[in-house]
């Protein structure tokens, strides 16, 4: 009698590795296909749509801020949490960056340090409320969202702070270090690559998935879940701070009333990209694709001169199609019942 427990794996049957990869990542294949189809549609309707000027400044550039926020919140959403404070958090970080860089005549690079430090601080505060005060993420970050909104208005005295005195500030987003790609877009893709490494190759990434998959089991395995949650929310905050810097560089100013609502755009991008709000599952590439789908849609509809009001309706419909389509696919695959 054999002492082993019989078990076969699905890998043995499938054989072809490439097909197996396609099958495993089928959700992303559909998302990319969706992006390509939407892009082709608008290009067909209005050739100006696929001009480099429109692609770089109309589409990619307008993805930078929500894209960075979406990449950051992907970590939080994979833990099964949510961060509603990333929108007004961006506002507050932007105001703080302007306050110190403009007010104290600090060098350009310090803007990144200040923005990302305050972003991480706000995130850590969220994480601490969730981990130690045991507040639900929705409540904790809702509170932070309101507080950040208020603080931004107080610190700025309700007026925009311009970066006119800081030489080259706009070039952070609008300059071209490589070819004709705007720097803001380089920052987004660079940050996405770093985020991919953190999520897939580091300890904090592994615990992000573990906590979202089964937080209690992770804790019982001896992982200090509270500590990691704070770090994960702080990590999300780093991207918020970076988004704030890019936002001010795009506008040449920090606006105290700009940012509210960005959190929902970022969450929408993450969801369209196939990350589950239930936690345990998600990808950075999906989030980037999701953010691009949103930007392509908005830009394309604007070029077709569809009214702004109707653009919102279309985005709403796309979210439903994306998530429902994913559910249908997974039900067919037997992942859910």
């Amino acid at each position: 009698m054999s002492t082993t427990v019989k078990a076969t794996t699905s890998e043995e049957v499938s054989g072809n590795k490439f097909m197996a990869l396609i099958r495993r990542e089928i959700g992303q294949v559909f998302a990319i296909a969706g992006l390509v189809i939407i892009f082709a549609f608008f290009s067909f309707m209005k050739p100006v749509f696929y001009s480099w000027a429109n692609v770089s400044n109309g589409i990619l550039m307008s993805t930078t801020v929500t894209g960075l926020l979406a990449v950051g919140i992907t970590f939080v959403i994979i833990t099964g949490g949510i961060d509603l404070s990333i929108g007004t958090g961006t506002t507050l970080c932007a105001i703080l960056v302007a306050h110190y860089v403009v007010g104290w005549h600090l060098p350009l690079w310090s803007g990144f340090v200040i923005g990302m430090s305050f972003g991480a601080l706000i995130g850590a505060l969220n994480g601490a409320m969730i981990a130690f005060l045991k507040l639900p993420p929705f409540i904790a970050t809702l509170a932070t969202m309101k507080a950040a909104q208020g603080l931004a208005l107080i610190i700025s005295h309700l007026t925009p702070i311009r970066f006119d005195t800081v030489k080259g500030w706009e070039s952070i987003a609008q300059g071209n270090l490589i070819g004709s790609i705007p720097n803001g877009v380089l920052i987004l893709f660079g940050a996405a690559i770093v985020a991919w490494f953190i999520l897939n190759r580091t300890v904090i990434g592994r615990y992000t998935f573990a906590i979202g998959s089964n937080g209690e089991a992770t804790k019982l395995s001896g992982v200090k879940v509270e500590r990691w949650l704070i770090l994960i929310y702080a990590l999300c905050g780093l991207f918020v701070g970076l988004a704030a810097v890019v936002l001010t560089a795009r506008l040449g100013a920090a606006e105290p009333d700009l940012g509210l609502g960005y959190e929902l755009e970022a969450i929408a991008a993450v969801i369209i990209g196939g990350t589950s709000l239930l936690g345990g599952k998600g990808t950075i590439s999906g989030t980037i694709i999701g953010a691009l789908i949103m930007a392509v849609l908005t830009n394309g509809l604007r070029i077709l001169q569809v009214q702004q009001e109707w653009q919102y309706v279309v985005v709403g419909i796309v979210i439903v199609i994306a998530v429902f389509g994913d559910n249908v696919r997974r039900r067919r695959a037997g992942e859910i019942s």
Binding site: R201, V203, A210, N214, G222, V223
Partner: protein, 501 residues
């Protein structure tokens, strides 16, 4: 050194608000030994294990581990001492792979300490699985594996801590006999390596095979420790419940009606079921036996329309009916009582009244949609009396009831709905030995009153004790229907293992 004392607990007590969960309990474990702890639900086994694994803090008492007094204050500390636990509910991360699950919290890292070393992770996991003779792919996602194979991952994980003490809380509750046998081989090899194993199980037959000593606890108190060789199952049971219980009972002879209440023909589903046909008679208890995954729950779900059928017809009292969803089933008077009562059967933070009328709310509201409190409380009180639900009043929250009494509330719900056919899925899962008896009496009483009962059960003594006839399934097919008088455990197992090849 085999035989030396590894762990001992003296005078351990633990109080929760209003309940003394453990009262002056003692226990000891030697190296190279399997020491079983048995007791009814609520006797305090899990509390004791949670104290040992650092999840709860003890109020009083001394824990000595390898000669030193220790204070196990967190799961992390328990692991670093060398005490690991396999929890009753599987505690795995379904979205992570086998290797990632096994080494969670201790993943091999690169020199930077930040980056993971995934190739070493997979290699270590493979080495561990080979050592334990478990055939699993370290790269497979745990969420895509069967429960039994997930259990093997838990075991590998517990062993990977290289501790001296491994606690196994109901490790076989979801395993088939052959998988259980494989687990026992692993346990024996751990034993041979001088590990001490604390083994908790409701399946007392297993203890004869696997344990060296048995400790019984009852109502949070230590009762007795015995050498397995020197005791017997009836003795253990009587120590557990404080009285004698007959293990090998059969139903009283009942005059069975010839009326067929429910007839199912050629029920098939896309995934598992193949041409299942059977008849259920009035006042009959029809037992469904089979191994895990034989398709018994799937059959019940297909019958009540919870899952789609690909073929099959159903007749109710001679009339063909179409059941497309659970609503149709309830309309036809078929009630399904899931094995997972807490998830599918009860509203835990509502009172008994609300739970009892849940399936028949229209009967208890007036024409303005306002609840008729009196009649609702009335049926709840009637149910409490009839089903002997132990509770201070009908206003008690269901979560505060014991497992057996919760099960009675679910039964009351379907009786209030006038269901003639009741499908019980594992009616006594998670219910104490003592309370089981009461559920059995209740089922018999219901059958005597003319209700027809389908009882799915994985416990053969239960099937034999309760069923008038026993239907046995294997791999989604019905492999036999046996009259109770012709049935014994061997015959049922023969039908249950009638695999096609």
């Amino acid at each position: 050194m085999a035989g030396s004392q590894l762990l001992s607990l003296e005078g351990v007590s633990k109080e929760f608000p209003g309940v003394k969960a453990l009262d002056n309990v003692r226990f000891d474990l030697n190296a190279g030994e399997v020491h079983a702890i048995v007791g009814e639900n609520g006797a305090g086994k899990s509390t004791l294990m949670k104290i040992l694994s650092g999840i709860y803090k003890k109020d009083t008492g001394v824990i000595t581990y390898q000669g030193d007094h220790v204070n196990v204050s967190s799961p992390h500390e328990a692991q670093s001492l060398g005490i690991s636990i396999i929890h009753q509910e599987l505690n795995l991360m379904p979205h992570l792979t086998v290797a990632e699950n096994i080494f969670i919290g201790r993943e091999p890292r690169r020199k930077s300490r930040i980056f993971l070393n995934n190739s070493k992770l997979v290699k270590d996991a493979q080495a561990l699985l080979d050592e334990l003779n478990i055939v699993l792919d370290p790269k497979e996602l745990v969420g895509e594996m069967t429960i039994a194979r997930q259990q093997m991952v838990e075991i590998a994980k517990a062993v990977s801590y290289r501790g001296e003490v491994i606690i196994m809380d109901e490790p076989t509750s979801s395993l088939t006999p052959s998988e259980t046998e494989a687990l026992f081989k692993i346990i024996n090899s751990l034993k041979a390596n001088g590990k001490g194993i604390i083994y908790i199980s409701h399946r007392l037959e297993e203890l004869d095979v696997i344990s060296d000593r048995i400790t019984v606890i009852r109502d949070g108190q230590y009762v007795k420790t015995m050498k397995t060789k020197e005791t017997s199952i009836p003795e253990v049971i009587s120590l557990m419940v404080g009285r004698k219980v007959d293990q090998d009972q059969r139903p009283d002879k009942r005059a069975l009606s010839k009326d067929v209440v429910l007839k199912a023909e050629n029920i098939s589903t896309k995934k598992l079921l193949k041409d299942v046909s059977f008849e259920l008679r009035k006042g009959e208890i029809l037992g469904f036996a089979g191994l895990m995954g034989a398709g018994r729950t799937e059959l019940a779900r297909a019958l009540i329309g919870a899952d789609p059928k690909t073929s099959g017809k159903v007749w109710l009292k001679g009339q063909e009916i179409s059941i497309k969803n659970p609503h149709d089933a309830v309309q036809a008077g078929i009630g399904y009582l899931s094995e997972d009562r807490k998830r599918y059967g009860l509203l835990l933070i509502q009172d008994i009244t609300f739970n009892v009328i849940m399936a028949s709310i229209p009967k208890y509201v007036n024409k303005f949609g306002i609840f008729k409190k009196g009649p609702a409380a009335g049926i709840a009180r009637d149910s409490i009396a009839k089903l002997r639900i132990r509770t201070p009043s009908e206003k008690q929250f269901v979560k505060n009831l014991s497992g057996g009494n919760q099960q009675k509330v679910v039964i009351a719900k379907w009786l209030a709905r006038d269901c003639e056919i009741l499908i019980f899925d594992e009616p006594t899962r998670g219910i104490d030995v003592g309370a089981k008896d009461e559920i059995y009496k209740l089922l018999t009483q219901l059958a005597n009153e003319g209700k027809s009962i389908i009882m799915i059960s994985s416990e053969l003594p239960e099937v034999l004790r309760m069923s008038d006839r026993i239907a046995v399934m294997c791999e989604g097919r019905l492999t036999g229907i046996i009259e109770n008088k012709d049935a014994d455990q061997n015959l049922i197992m023969q039908y249950a293992t009638k695999f096609r090849d």
